[in-house]
Every structure is written in structure tokens, then in C-alpha cells.
């Protein structure tokens, strides 16, 4: 028997309408992603019989989530423009290793203490600058540029590390990584500060608008007079500096500057971007979405650990979540050809 298509008055069937409704919610506000976050949290609160809500666990989630969010802020900005950034793993490793070498460590006598933060951020920004320049001047697609940077940066990180892990002896780092104020981890506070800065950039500066414009329609943006190349280079650089900061915090948390510190961060970063509601095609999303997405992914991962779900199954869960999230939120009107 032929399946009957339910037709609603303006020619869309029910399924299309629901999809449209979803996308409206998700693209317009963060209502959708917040709902997702709450739902996922509920699943795990119930699944762990409440132990999910222990202070220790919540603090852990906040810490991990904050670190991931830092990276996701960066990659989200790039994705908002319609490009992609595959380099976080390499750049974070590079900045971590360099940061390690300039703080109280086993291999050098240099100790700049917390001055390492701006320094590694500049290193990260430097890699972003290179990414942006290659992408705009040599016209190499961002997929390949950042792929190459991933390899290159990771390689340099490994060279600098000399193949050994480098324990950091600065006790202040331990406080930073594990301490908290009124129950909120210091790391989270830093991330919130960064979030505020980025949100201000996004909403209250011209360049914030330009990022969305370029992601919305690059050709039109150029026609209106936006200096697309300059914006791209700046955004890649900002992303790089955020990766740098991520590297610093990872070092603080693990108290060692190891090039493997960032291993496997790309998948959660991309998933967080998408689950948070930022469209892969660009133009829709933002730092709020990035934050929510990062938290959702962290809750998902930590929750699975807490429920003793085999780490091996987690891969599948992450994969399924990613596919579902994109399926629901993708704006198919904008792209006639899906590649």
C-alpha cells in the first residue's frame, strides 16, 4: 500500500514542518541546544542514580568542559565564517610544549610563571596567522591548510619535547587547575571571562558582524565592501590564540608538557560545535552555542564514564550523537547540493 504523504496547508508535509520548526528554534536561540544539554544531563542523572550530581563530579565536568570550550570557541569562529579548522590538536600540543619549557620545568631554567599564558597565546596566534595567510593568499582550502598545520605543529611540538614528557613543578599550576572559589573551578572562571570577551566581540564589534556576513554569503559580503581576507586572517589568529590557552590549561591540569596532551581533541571539538547549534556551513551559531555544545559533549563523555559504559562503546555513542545532531539541525534550504 502506498504511503500517504500528510500535506499541511502551505505545501510542506508534517516531517518537513517539524524539521523546519527544530531548525528555527536552534538557529534562532539557544533554546534547542540548552534543551539538549538538559536532556543529556537528565539521562545521566537518572542513569547514575544521582551520583552524577556530586560536587566532585560537577566540578570535574566544569573543568573539563571549560578546557574543551576554549578550543571550541576557536574552531567555532572559523566555522562561522564557512571555513574549517583541523589544526587544534597540533597547535595545542605545540603551545603546551613551549609553555612547558618556559615555566618551572625539568629541562630548562627559564621560568616566566604565568607570563607563559600570553606567550603561548601569541604562539597560537602565530599559527593561526599562518593558516589565514595560506588560505587567503595562496588560496589553499582551509581543510588542507589546517590539515597541514596540524601535522606541522604537532611535529614541531614533538621535536621541542625531545620525545620525553616534561613535568612542570610550578605548584601554583596545581592550584589553578584543581582549585575553586565558591565551588566554581578557577579554570571555569577563566573560560567565562574569555567567553565574555568573545561575546562582546561577536555582538558589539564590526568584525563580529563581518564574521557572520562572510559565513552567510561570502560573495555578497565582499560586494558590500567587507575586507574578507583580513577578517579571515584575524579569525584564524584568534582561534590559534585560544588553542594556545587551551594548551596552557591542559598543562596545568596534568602538570606535564607532553605533545600527546591534545590527542583526539578534534572529534569532541567538532561535535561540540555542531551539537551547540553552529552550522557547519557558516553564518549561524556563535560563542554561546560553542559553550553549550562543549558542556553537552563533556556531560555526555563524563556521564558515560560514570556509568561505567565501556570506553569502547563510547566511540559509537559519540558518533551516533554527532550524526543525529547534524541531521536535525542542518539547514538544507541553504545548500542545494550536500557534499
Amino acid at each position: 500500500m502506498r504511503k500517504k504523504r500528510v500535506v499541511v496547508k502551505d505545501g510542506l508535509n508534517i516531517r518537513e514542518r517539524i524539521g523546519r520548526g527544530f531548525r528555527y528554534i536552534i538557529s534562532h536561540s539557544v533554546f534547542g541546544p540548552i534543551t539538549a544539554l538538559i536532556l543529556v544531563s537528565l539521562v545521566f542523572i537518572v542513569g547514575t542514580g544521582g551520583s552524577f550530581l556530586s560536587l566532585k563530579n560537577l566540578q570535574n565536568i566544569l573543568s573539563l568542559g571549560s578546557i574543551l570550550a576554549m578550543t571550541v570557541f576557536g574552531s567555532s569562529l572559523v566555522i562561522l565564517m564557512g571555513a574549517i579548522d583541523l589544526s587544534p590538536e597540533g597547535v595545542i600540543a605545540l603551545c603546551a610544549v613551549i609553555g612547558g619549557l618556559i615555566m618551572k620545568n625539568e629541562r630548562t631554567v627559564v621560568d616566566v610563571g604565568f607570563w607563559a599564558i600570553p606567550i603561548v597565546m601569541m604562539v597560537g596566534a602565530g599559527t593561526g596567522l599562518i593558516n589565514g595567510t595560506i588560505n587567503t593568499k595562496l588560496k589553499v582550502p582551509s581543510l588542507i591548510t589546517t590539515l597541514g598545520m596540524w601535522f606541522a605543529a604537532l611535529g614541531i611540538a614533538v621535536i621541542f619535547s625531545g620525545g620525553s614528557t616534561n613535568p612542570i613543578m610550578d605548584s601554583r599550576l596545581q592550584v589553578l587547575a584543581n582549585g575553586s572559589l565558591f565551588g566554581i573551578p578557577y579554570i571555569t572562571m577563566v573560560t567565562i571571562c574569555v567567553f565574555i570577551v568573545l561575546a562582546i566581540i561577536e555582538k558589539r564589534t564590526a568584525i563580529g558582524k563581518y564574521i557572520f556576513a562572510i559565513g552567510g554569503n561570502e560573495i555578497l559580503a565582499k560586494q558590500v565592501g567587507i575586507n574578507v581576507e583580513r577578517v579571515k586572517v584575524i579569525v584564524f589568529s584568534i582561534a590559534g590564540s585560544l588553542y594556545g590557552m587551551t594548551g596552557f590549561f591542559l598543562v596545568a591540569r596534568l602538570l606535564s608538557a607532553n605533545p600527546t596532551i591534545s590527542r583526539g581533541i578534534l572529534f569532541p571539538a567538532i561535535t561540540a560545535t555542531v551539537v551547540g547549534g553552529t552550522a557547519l556551513s557558516g553564518g549561524i551559531g556563535g560563542v554561546v552555542n560553542a559553550l553549550i555544545g562543549a558542556m553537552t559533549v563533556t556531560v555526555l563523555r563524563s556521564g558515560m564514564v560514570l556509568m561505567n559504559i565501556s570506553p569502547y562503546v563510547q566511540g559509537a555513542v559519540n558518533g551516533v550523537v554527532l550524526i543525529l545532531a547534524v541531521t536535525i539541525t542542518m539547514d538544507r534550504k541553504k545548500i542545494s547540493i550536500i557534499k
Partner: protein, 333 residues
């Protein structure tokens, strides 16, 4: 006045640059890649003659056969304009499936593993067409799923007990003096070449990559061809996994990790455009040779193992910068 002069100079230089790059652009990418390969070989040989030793060439051959087989399939997907990020997961999965199957199926495990590989590719294709999401996301997700399945099959890495070693001779043995692994890689290359040029599906892949809209308007079932490309990609990754497992006498879920990026690099370095439509099997062959020669060469001339990765990254960017066909895309994202 100065501003005018500067503007003039800039436009003259820009024009000159455009002419030069325009000239370069008109040379088929494969010749540029071959030139690159040639230069790389010459450089390495001149630094250290042992690069050409029989032993070293054998090593290069082994490396190439693995990179080639996974790159071939990836190349087909990229030619349709998509990308397959699950090849790493498939390599891991098939390496384990193959080795596990030796116990029960012996030599037949080879074919069972290949069928499993096609199945994985088919899954990619189905999700891609049903969910209507970009291949980037789809295969990123399925890659994770494949790795999970691998773990389910075997939590710990599998190693092959000596009594089963002879089964692995399918790859490790040699016929007519040539390593079987290379022969298999050559066979796959030949098959894919024929598939791409002389079968309907293969030709549609090329057409879709060149102009998907026109292909659809000409009656081509675009979705079906893309599924086909995914299946072939899975198959290629599967062969790669089998060769890898045979060479290393073991298989595990983390085997394929780094091959995702390497397969993409192999394809684009050879001159296939990441946007699709340009390139082909031969480009991938050259790309695989460039990658393996480069990697091996760096070791031979004594570059730090850790530095190699950096050079590789730079190589990829340079290769694409000179072979990328910019006339096809309006905006470079």
C-alpha cells in the same frame, strides 16, 4: 601621485602573478605532481645514495602499498566532492576482523574481511543518503562507530599465533619475486582504474565531481553513485587494513588512526582537487609515491623522526598550493 604609482605597480605585479599562475594552472596537475616526486627523489638520492638500495626500495614498496590502497578509495569519494573520514576506523575494524577470522575460516578470512569492508562502506553510503548530511560529518561519526565495533570484537589488540602465520602469506609471501602485498596493491589499483574509467558508475563519479547539478539533470542517479564511491572507499581501506595486519602480525582498534589524514594527503598531493571533479586514480598513485618516498627518505637522510611530521605538513600545503585548480571554485573556503 604616489598612491597612483603604488596602485599601478601593484596591479602590474598582480597581473604578472596571475599570468604565471595561469600558465601553471593550465598544466595538468599530474605532471606537476610527477615533477615534485622527481625532485624529491633526486634530493634524497643526492644526500644519501643508500636511498636506492634494494632493502630501502622494498620498504618504500610496503609503505606505498598501504597508503595506495586506502588512498584509492578516498580518492574516489573526494572526486565526487565528498570526503571519507571513516577510513581509519575501517582499517582498524578490518584488521581485527581479518585476524579473528583466520582461526575459523583460514584463507577464506581474506574474502570475508573484504566483504565486511564493503559493508562498512555501504553503511556510510546509506547514512549519507538517508540523513542528507555532509559527508564530513557523516563519516566522522561512522568512523567512531567502526572503532567501537572493533573494540566489541576484541578488547585487546590481537596478535597472530605462529601456527596461523602461513595464512598471512597471502600478503607476506611473494610470487615471481615480488611481494604479494605490492601485487595486491597493484591489482587494486588496476581494478579501480578500470572501474573509474570503464564502468558506468566510475564515469558518473567523475561527472558528479565535475558538475553535480548537470549530472543530475542528465539523468544520473547521483545518490547511488556516491554510495558506490563509499563502498569502494571502504573496500580500499579494508585491503589496507589486511596488508597492515599481515605486515605487523597484529590488529587493533587504534591501527587506523593516523591513516585518515594520510589518505587525504595522498589524494590531494597527487593533484586531485579537494572539491572534486579533477584528478583520478593515477593522481592518487603519484600521491602515494610522493608520500611514501618522502616519509622514507626523511628517515634515510636522518631527519629526526619527530621532525618528519612537520615536513609532511609543509609538503601537503605546498603540493596543494601548486596543483589546486582554482579556476573551478568561485570562493576558496
Amino acid at each position: 601621485m604616489g598612491k597612483n604609482n603604488r596602485r599601478n605597480l601593484k596591479s602590474i605585479m598582480a597581473k604578472g602573478e596571475r599570468e604565471l599562475t595561469g600558465y601553471i594552472r593550465r598544466i595538468p596537475a599530474i605532471y606537476i605532481s610527477l615533477l615534485l616526486l622527481f625532485i624529491i627523489i633526486v634530493v634524497f638520492v643526492s644526500i644519501n645514495r643508500s636511498f636506492l638500495s634494494v632493502y630501502n626500495l622494498k620498504t618504500i614498496g610496503n609503505l606505498t602499498s598501504i597508503l595506495l590502497t586506502v588512498g584509492l578509495g578516498q580518492g574516489l569519494v573526494i572526486m565526487t566532492g565528498g570526503i571519507d573520514l571513516s577510513v581509519g576506523g575501517i582499517i582498524s575494524l578490518i584488521s581485527v576482523v581479518y585476524l579473528l577470522g583466520l582461526k575459523t575460516f583460514g584463507y577464506l578470512s581474506f574474502f570475508i574481511a573484504l566483504i565486511a569492508a564493503c559493508g562498512a562502506g555501504f553503511l556510510n553510503g546509506i547514512i549519507y543518503t538517508k540523513a542528507k548530511i555532509p559527508s564530513f560529518v557523516c563519516t566522522l561519526g561512522t568512523g567512531g562507530i567502526f572503532v567501537s565495533i572493533t573494540y566489541l570484537l576484541s578488547e585487546a589488540p590481537i596478535s597472530v599465533p605462529p601456527r596461523h602465520f602461513h595464512y598471512l602469506d597471502v600478503v607476506n609471501g611473494s610470487a615471481l619475486g615480488i611481494e604479494n602485498g605490492w601485487l595486491i596493491a597493484l591489482l587494486v589499483t588496476g581494478c579501480y582504474f578500470i572501474l573509474q574509467k570503464y564502468t558506468y558508475m566510475g564515469r558518473t563519479i567523475y561527472s558528479i565531481g565535475s558538475n553535480e547539478r548537470m549530472s543530475w539533470m542528465s539523468g544520473i542517479d547521483v545518490r547511488r553513485s556516491k554510495v558506490y564511491a563509499f563502498i569502494l572507499s571502504g573496500l580500499g581501506a579494508g585491503v589496507s587494513g589486511i596488508i597492515l595486519a599481515s605486515n605487523l602480525y597484529s590488529g587493533s582498534a587504534i591501527f587506523g588512526d593516523l591513516y585518515v589524514l594520510e589518505s587525504i594527503a595522498v589524494v590531494v598531493v597527487g593533484g586531485t582537487a579537494i572539491t572534486g571533479g579533477a584528478g583520478g586514480i593515477l593522481n592518487t598513485v603519484v600521491g602515494a609515491l610522493i608520500m611514501s618516498v618522502f616519509k622514507n627518505g626523511m628517515t634515510v637522510i636522518g631527519i629526526d623522526v619527530y621532525a618528519q611530521q612537520t615536513f609532511l605538513g609543509v609538503l601537503i600545503i605546498i603540493a596543494v598550493a601548486i596543483t589546486f585548480d582554482r579556476s573551478k571554485v568561485m570562493v576558496v573556503k
